[in-house]
């Protein structure tokens, strides 16, 4: 099925699980996953509600291509009001959970209310029930996954769950599925914990049927796979080196932030790069990178599976961490490495394992630690706050000790779990928070690369590269090269990336396909799978509609144009050296043009004519 046309509604307060039909009128306007679930959230949740209160809802949603033969068609998203930002949150994950949910016959699960006691949801095809999770509460995400599999004795069962950081109230806790894939950003795991929902276990045996035009779908998806295979990025670059190949690229062009974005350019970048991950190490002759890995239905296989050097101090006496597991992706390697000033590949691989094991967003975690390190070096916080840890940039041992302390809820964990905005405000240094709308930046400096700064500032879920990845154009030359330091044309570029991404995120596909696919490759796959008109034009308009709907949610939650901004550091502190020396973000030049390109007012509001044009 493209759409199964069925929603599972789980009322955690009442303990009920009910099936209801999918609103097909909305599906034709918002497609699925990110778009359609955001529509449900917008209609059912007061945007001003407490993100961690029972009035917030959490939706796990697939797209119409999830579970199909389309390449990368295994994605699902978690949509809710985010506790880190107070804005709409949508976190997208790969792995196999999304496809399994579709095989069980559901387009989405809407969780509402709050359970009195810890529970997990068990879905076996049409049957859904809540079970006690009191024995799981307090366990890591990995232990929870293991325990549920042991209980049900079904290796094909897929589990999405939270770890201890979510239970402890960390505002950037993730939902982990298939052990090391994550709906990672904005604290969707914290919302799950607030509902006393520990896990969702799914087994589906119904497969996929009801594709609108099966013959056309087979043809369109085959054509798409050929394009991915023949493209040098998706056919060779990503499977061989993964996203981590960017570490030296971004450092080389002068766009790699370091040490809480105090610096741009990291002298240790090469030691934590994809090239370093592939090198045999001295101790056992094996590289950090064990193999690449693919999510459901993916013909790219960019995922990294890694091992830490068994003689490294971080795992030396811990055999449970000496096996292979989900390895470093670029954003995590940056936040845990360059942003903390640490160039110890094994240490940050281990910390990344802990992020996966206990379910937290490594971008926000690393960036929050970086803010804490800067405050420590400035004498604002001391070992009294950190539990005795000398929290200095570049100290791998301190970082490992801090992370072990954090995941188990030890000293300083409540402070670090707030995220860098609240942390720096607490200690009177708000300018040291490198965030937009309260969410931490990923691995590209807006001073060195102008368009990505505009994207960060206007992202509906707070600072995020994956809302509109202009790096593709500004650095990688995909689909065409634009100049890093130009602001001309960046408003239109950001809008185009944001709208196209919203559509891809609503289809069930991975955004990495767009390194090779244009909308003319994507639209025919959706059009063949789904009833209705899914021409290129309609797909692009759907993406734009979704973007504007998210913006309306945020507006109703209290956000204004004043929240479309970057930290003072990025606007005023010029880059000190390297090819981008002297540059600051010129957001002020781009933002008015962006509002204009979107058909918004000069103060960032969506006027009636734009709403009408987009059927909002």
């Amino acid at each position: 099925m493209s759409w199964t046309r069925k929603i599972l509604r789980v009322d955690l307060s009442k303990g009920s699980c009910k099936s209801e039909p999918l609103n097909m009128e909305w599906a034709k306007l918002y497609l699925g996953q990110r778009g359609l679930a955001s529509k449900y959230l917008s209609e059912e949740v007061d945007p001003k509600c407490d993100a961690l209160g029972p009035d917030n809802k959490m939706i796990m949603a697939t797209g119409p291509l999830t579970g199909t033969m389309a390449s990368t068609g295994g994605r699902y998203s978690v949509i809710t009001k985010g506790p880190l930002t107070g804005a709409i949150a949508c976190s997208n994950s790969g792995g196999f959970f999304g496809a399994e949910l579709k095989y069980a016959g559901w387009d989405m699960i809407i969780f509402e209310g709050k359970s009195d006691k810890p529970v997990y949801l068990l879905v076996q095809d049409d049957k859904a029930e809540l079970r006690s999770a009191e024995h799981l509460w307090g366990k890591t995400a990995w232990a929870t996954d293991d325990s549920i599999h042991a209980t049900h004795q079904d290796p094909q069962m897929r589990v999405a769950c939270i770890g201890r950081t979510a239970e402890n109230g960390c505002l950037y806790a993730a939902i982990m599925n298939d052990r090391h894939r994550a709906a990672g950003r904005s604290g969707v795991g914290t919302v799950m914990a607030s509902k006393n929902l520990k896990a969702v276990a799914v087994r589906g045996t119904q497969g996929i049927g009801n594709v609108d035009d099966a013959e056309a779908f087979a043809s369109a998806t085959n054509d798409g796979k050929a394009v991915l295979a023949e493209n040098a990025v998706t056919g060779q670059g990503l499977p061989a080196y993964g996203t981590q190949v960017l570490m030296n690229v971004i450092n080389g062009v002068g766009g790699l932030p370091a040490r809480n974005m105090r610096d741009v350019g990291f002298e240790g970048a090469e030691h934590i790069s994809a090239e370093a991950m592939a090198e045999p190490r001295k101790s056992d002759g094996k590289p950090n990178l064990t193999t690449n890995g693919a999510c459901f239905g993916c013909t790219i296989a960019c995922g990294r599976i890694s091992t830490v050097d068994p003689t490294h101090f971080s795992v030396k006496d811990k055999p449970q961490y000496q096996g292979s597991s989900g390895g470093l992706e670029y954003e995590a390697a940056w936040s845990l490495g360059a942003d903390t000033g640490i160039d110890d590949l094994d240490a940050i691989t281990y910390v990344n394992f802990l992020c996966n094991e206990d379910g937290m967003d490594p971008i926000s975690y690393g960036a929050t630690v970086a803010a804490a390190m800067e405050m420590f070096e400035d004498g604002v916080i001391t070992t009294k706050e950190t539990g005795g840890i000398e929290l200095r940039f570049g100290d791998a041992k301190a970082f490992v000790a801090l992370t072990e302390q954090f995941v188990s809820g030890g000293a300083f964990s409540a402070d670090l779990g707030m995220g860098s905005k609240r942390l720096t405000e607490k200690y009177g240094k708000p300018d040291l928070s490198m965030t937009v709308k309260g969410q931490e930046f990923p691995a590209y400096d807006p001073r060195g690369i102008q368009g990505i700064g505009l994207n960060y500032a206007t992202s509906n879920r707070g600072a995020c590269h994956l809302r509109g990845y202009t790096i593709a154009s500004e650095v990688l030359g995909i689909p065409v090269k634009t100049e890093l330091n130009d602001t001309d044309g960046k408003a239109e570029l950001v809008k185009a990336f944001q709208d196209a991404t919203a559509l891809v995120d609503s289809a069930g596909l991975c955004i990495f396909t767009t390194f090779a696919w244009g909308m003319d490759n994507i639209a025919p796959q959706i059009d063949a799978a789904c009833e209705g008109d899914w021409s290129v034009e309609n797909c692009l308009e759907t993406g734009e509609r979704i973007w504007n709907m998210e913006r309306l949610f945020n507006e109703a939650a209290g956000f204004t144009a004043d929240d479309d901004k970057l930290p003072k550091r990025l606007l005023e502190e010029a880059i000190k050296h390297g090819p981008t020396k002297g540059q600051v973000s010129r957001l002020g030049e781009m933002l008015p043009k962006y509002y204009e390109a979107r058909g918004w007012t000069a103060d960032g509001k969506i006027p009636d004519e734009t709403r009408q044009r987009l059927s909002l």
């Binding site: 493209n231 960017l246 030296n248």
Partner: protein
Amino acid sequence: MNLNIEFYASLMKYLPPGKSRFRREVKVDDDITLSRLISQFHISEAEAHLVLVNGHFVNCGEDRAQRKLTEGDTVSIWPPVAGG
């Protein structure tokens, strides 16, 4: 004259023998252009996707053919790659 070359990812195989991970100092003709340097190391145009001279992009085609290199320049080259 002496130049610094950096070949990354799958282009590391084109580096002359040396100790550094992906960096070498090489001696080249004084009047060498960027495109001649690239072909001198047997890197095809399609492989030389991202090319920086001292951290600044140089587009393929005429720009690389015209670009004269000078003593001490650093030339960095990547094949088609992406991430995010």
